[in-house]
Amino acid sequence: MAEPNTLTHFEAALLPHLAAAYNLARWLVRNDHDAEDLVQEAYLRAFNSFDGFHGREGRGWILAIVRNTCYTWLQQRRNQELAEVFDEEQHTGEDHSRSPEAVLLRSADAQLLKDALEKLPVEFREILVLRELEGMSYREIADLVGIPVGTVMSRLARGRERLQRQLTHAV
């Protein structure tokens, strides 16, 4: 590990995924400063366990470490949002005001969409980010998050539903 060659190899394999790493961290912790620190910490952790990497798919590997690092941080901060997922039932009232046109019109405002996504519980938010922003397949997301593919699909369905509700109630 201490060989300079290993470091070069590490950087060539994983620094190209810095944008994905930062984007995920930023969406998980929701502020620039902590996201930067956590991404750096994740890269150092990754480097220390690089001998377990064995040339696997670099993006999935570094994103898994970023995710773990961020979750540890969120838990340490006793972040409320980890608990929010259990409150879901209280919001599931019927809503008939969601015409596609209305949603398109409103979500055209990127800031509105950003705000709504930030308000989603982290379990839904991360799946939406990995799917819509990172373009990952259900299988890749399932491996990364450690849940079955069916759960990825149902979280996406519920996540989109909640996002929709946020957007139609905004404005």
């Binding site: 201490a2 394999a13 994983l14 750096q40 798919e57 015409s99 949603v103 819509e132 922003l133 699909m153």
Partner: protein, 264 residues
């Protein structure tokens, strides 16, 4: 099946992740159920507004440099550290790993030397070398801030720009209708000849499409190098290389679109 079950399947359908049977079921159900059709439409609208790229947080420029420095510092500390510091940094039983790691490091070194000097031990194939050349060109185009010579999303601006610079005329297509907007074109140099590099984009992922004439015929090949996906094929006496950090499924979609246009 109840509508509630379709509610979840709908998203799998939208994402193209369902098996054939479930796909057919959803397709049969949608025209019959106004409620589900509305959910589908609204999720589809949501999906397209999310994939505009506006939600993607770009890392600040200094972050890569900062991590680079931190890694080098950690690496140096590691090499000089007392055993106690080393344990804090790396909770791995070093006695066990050291011989293997140095062996692995030597293997990396040997293969790098073999690569450099073509000593014949691991001589890479011509195609491997070309793939490496294509990839280097892609990475360089992103790093050196020389992505395009002619930055334009208009195919009628990009195509004429190449006139007089090349001994062939590339077909330039704007694929923004298919979600791959044209970013521009660039003159590049591969296999000891000038080639066309067309740059497309999906979300924040840039795609380089390299084109030059070729007498050889080869079927489509897919490669992965250092986290990048590469596609290669020849068609109508032209060689095509596509490379990007975009995932393989979407890049394959891009390849199909390019192949479709060239065939016309």
């Amino acid at each position: 099946m109840s509508c509630k079950e379709y509610d979840t399947l709908m998203d799998g359908y939208l994402d193209g992740e369902l098996d054939l049977l479930s796909t057919l079921r959803v397709e049969a159900h949608l025209p019959e159920c106004a409620n589900c059709a509305q959910t589908y439409e609204s999720h589809r609208a949501l999906r397209s507004s999310m994939s505009s790229g506006k939600l993607y947080f770009k890392p600040p420029n200094k972050l890569a440099e900062r991590i680079h420095v931190a890694l080098h510092q950690a690496n140096n500390v590691e090499r000089r550290a007392s055993p106690s510091v080393r344990r804090v940094l790396k909770p791995i039983p070093w006695g066990i790993w050291w011989p293997w790691l140095s062996l692995a490091a030597s293997a990396v070194l040997v293969s790098m030397i073999a690569w450099r000097f073509g000593s014949g031990i691991f001589r890479p194939s011509a195609e491997d070398l070309l793939a490496q050349e294509v990839l280097s060109s892609h990475v360089r185009s992103l790093m050196a801030d020389h992505l395009t010579d002619v930055p334009s999303s208009d195919q009628h601006t990009v195509k004429p720009w190449f006139n007089g610079k090349l001994d062939f005329s590339p077909l330039v297509k704007d694929l923004s209708g298919d979600g791959f907007p044209l970013v521009g074109g660039r003159l590049d140099y591969l296999q000891e000849r000038p080639v066309v590099a067309l740059v497309y984009q999906r979300r924040k992922h840039l795609i380089n499409l390299f084109v030059w004439p070729s007498a050889e015929e080869s079927r489509q090949k897919t490669l992965t190098r250092q986290g990048y996906n590469l596609f290669h094929w020849t068609q109508s006496h032209m060689t095509y290389w596509v490379t990007s950090d975009l995932n393989q499924t979407e890049l394959q979609e891009f390849v199909r679109l390019v192949q479709g246009h060239q065939g016309r």
